[in-house]
């Protein structure tokens, strides 16, 4: 249906290129060195839980409405911001031993289990591959109703720049 180029705000999601231009994605050497937060919250909206929750002050918002900026040096990859963000727009990324890892918030059924196989979806929802869940955690941050924070492992590290959602297929075995 897309016979003309849609801008991000008409499409309702960003492409990787757009995010790179906005300086939202961390540089490759950092992704290769540690688990790092990236925030795909690029619009001015009045919101600040991410900045509030980060214990090492790695996230700054110049005002309540300014888009958050992550200090990649400071971030320890603790996942607190993933669990608290109401926009579900914080992800962690890491490339390690030739594999890609993405940590994402998950609020659907079935509940994720260590070792579950998943379909990997990109920002548009398209399935781009398969992966495996490693150590999902159920976190409550400032709210009695917690959400899952799930890390998925994928064989192709390049995919970690694209994967933003999962569909759980079930047990590996």
């Amino acid at each position: 249906m897309a016979d003309e180029e849609l801008k991000a705000v008409q499409r309702g999601y960003n492409t990787r290129e757009e995010l790179e231009e906005l300086n939202v994605l961390p540089p490759e050497e950092i992704v290769a060195s540690k688990r790092i937060a990236m925030i795909e919250c690029t619009e001015e909206i009045p919101c600040n839980p991410c900045a509030y929750i980060c214990r090492v002050d790695a996230i700054t918002k110049d005002s309540l409405s300014a888009p958050p900026i992550v200090d990649w040096e400071k971030c320890t990859g603790c996942t607190a911001c993933v669990a608290v963000c109401p926009g579900l727009s914080v992800f962690l990324q890491q490339i390690k031993d030739g594999k890609g890892y993405v940590t994402l918030p998950y609020e659907l059924l079935p509940a994720p289990k260590d070792g579950d196989r998943v379909e990997l979806q990109d920002r548009s929802g398209a399935v781009v591959g398969e992966g495996v869940i490693v150590k999902p955690t159920y976190q409550a941050r400032g709210d009695a109703y917690p959400r899952w924070v799930v890390t998925v492992e994928m064989d192709d590290p390049a995919l970690s720049y694209e994967v933003r959602s999962i569909r759980i297929l079930g047990d590996q075995k």
């Binding site: 249906m1 849609l6 801008k7 991000a8 705000v9 008409q10 499409r11 309702g12 999601y13 960003n14 795909e40 919250c41 690029t42 619009e43 001015e44 909206i45 009045p46 919101c47 600040n48 839980p49 509030y52 929750i53 005002s63 309540l64 409405s65 608290v84 109401p86 926009g87 579900l88 727009s89 609020e107 659907l108 059924l109 509940a111 979806q121 990109d122 920002r123 548009s124 929802g125 398209a126 941050r141 400032g142 709210d143 009695a144 109703y145 959400r147 933003r164 959602s165």
Partner: protein
Amino acid sequence: MVDWRIYEHPILEFDRGEEVTIYLDGEPMKAFESETVAAALYANGLREFSKSIKYRRPRGFFCAIGRCSTCMMEVDGVPNVRTCIVMVKAGMRIKRQKYLAEYLSPILNLMKLPPQVYMRLMTRPGIIYKPAMMVMRQLTGLGAFPKKVLDPPPQNQGAQGEISTEFLIVGGGPAGMQAAIEAGQRGISVVIVDDKDRLGGQLVKQTHTFFSDIKYAAGKRGFKLGEEMISQLDQLPNVRVITETSAVGYYPKEDIMLLKGPNNTTLKVNAKKYLVATGAYEKTLVFENNDLPGVYGAGGVQTLLNVFGIKPGNRGILLGTGNVALMVAYHLIQAGIEVAGVYAPSFRRVRGYFVHAAKIQRHGVPVVTRHTIVKALGRKEVKGAIMTKLNTDYSHVPGSQFKVDCDFICIGVGLNPAYDLVQLFNPKMVRSGVLGGFVPIRDKTYRFAENAYIAGDCGSIEEATTAVLEGGLAGLHVTEALDIRSEEISEKITEYEHALEEDRSSPFSAGLKTAMNEITVDDIMEVLT
């Protein structure tokens, strides 16, 4: 047996209470104590609740909050009960209102009577009025008069009589509750009324976490915020909460607000100050078959889904790309219901927050701008929808129509401030597109008439967080107007104003801020006289 209830949900647990049996036209059906009649019937698969008055079109529920009146049925012998706001009771007998006109409807249609005829024909002479109305009501399915005048049963008596109070708040949403908290904590005697069975307003159906400053509501789920406010109110003995009671009139001469409670009980309240915090009504759309059961308001779908835990259908589409439509799409995904797409005519951008649009698209639900609905398909209930692409002048692109399979269509195209009650105070109303519709001119203390104040969505369509802040401010200003003043109150007012300013600092609120300034005056009494 069909059961549309959701028993497994990633976030919510539905405490449905005890199972009871109700009867629809004599058929037993499974229901739960905590369900409204409409919800219970819907869970049992009933989609057609009544037939429309003139064309005998099937009508189901639409708004689920007691506004649209399409869910009326006969309950325990009382006709025209809005089943979406009446709770089930064991053994309740519900009847689809019988309509002899079923058979006559082709003839009535041929006659092309204007609808008033049904209502106003034969009002004279008086002698034949009653029998004539009996016949007309039977014909039109408006329900027979009850056989005898039903006295309110002794149990479940609503508040009755006449009372006086310092501060009467109408509407128990976030705005009304915060006003009650602020005024109540400072010793004002407060009465807060709401027409639902519980306080919370729109918050009760919001299961997602909120934006805004973490000091106020951010990161909390809407209904949790509501529960917290309710427990704060519980601590205040000078705040009286009256639920299942709606304010139906204000009589300026007598300075009396008329409230209607369960079983036709009435209560008259005289107050020194009034706060109208009645929220908003949902906007809807005109398209072919837009009244078919299966076409619902977004709030209605949210209520079914998040309050009662009932699936509206198996596969749906959403119309509108504002935050409400995007949120409802996400709630549907969470409940495991397929969403075929979110469609809206917007050209410039997805109207809601970008992060909301992004979170549903990554689950594979397309957000499609520059499209609109042409018609809903189906005879008795929705079977699909015909969509079309739009040109920039909003005309349909020829040949671009396509069919989407779905069994429900959810309209989330925005809200209109509920100004009925506001208007009874003879305010100066203005129309503002940005603020959602007609709103009263007010001053900086939220006063729009001599003794009446306004807060929340009924004064300007915004968000829960701003509703809380406005409500708090109105509560504090009323406290001051009742001659309770202190340093602490002025400080609190400054704090709230600052927070409101921050909340409205994003580019999304630029237009809103201008509009708010335009309708806020220094001296409200000058404007009114």
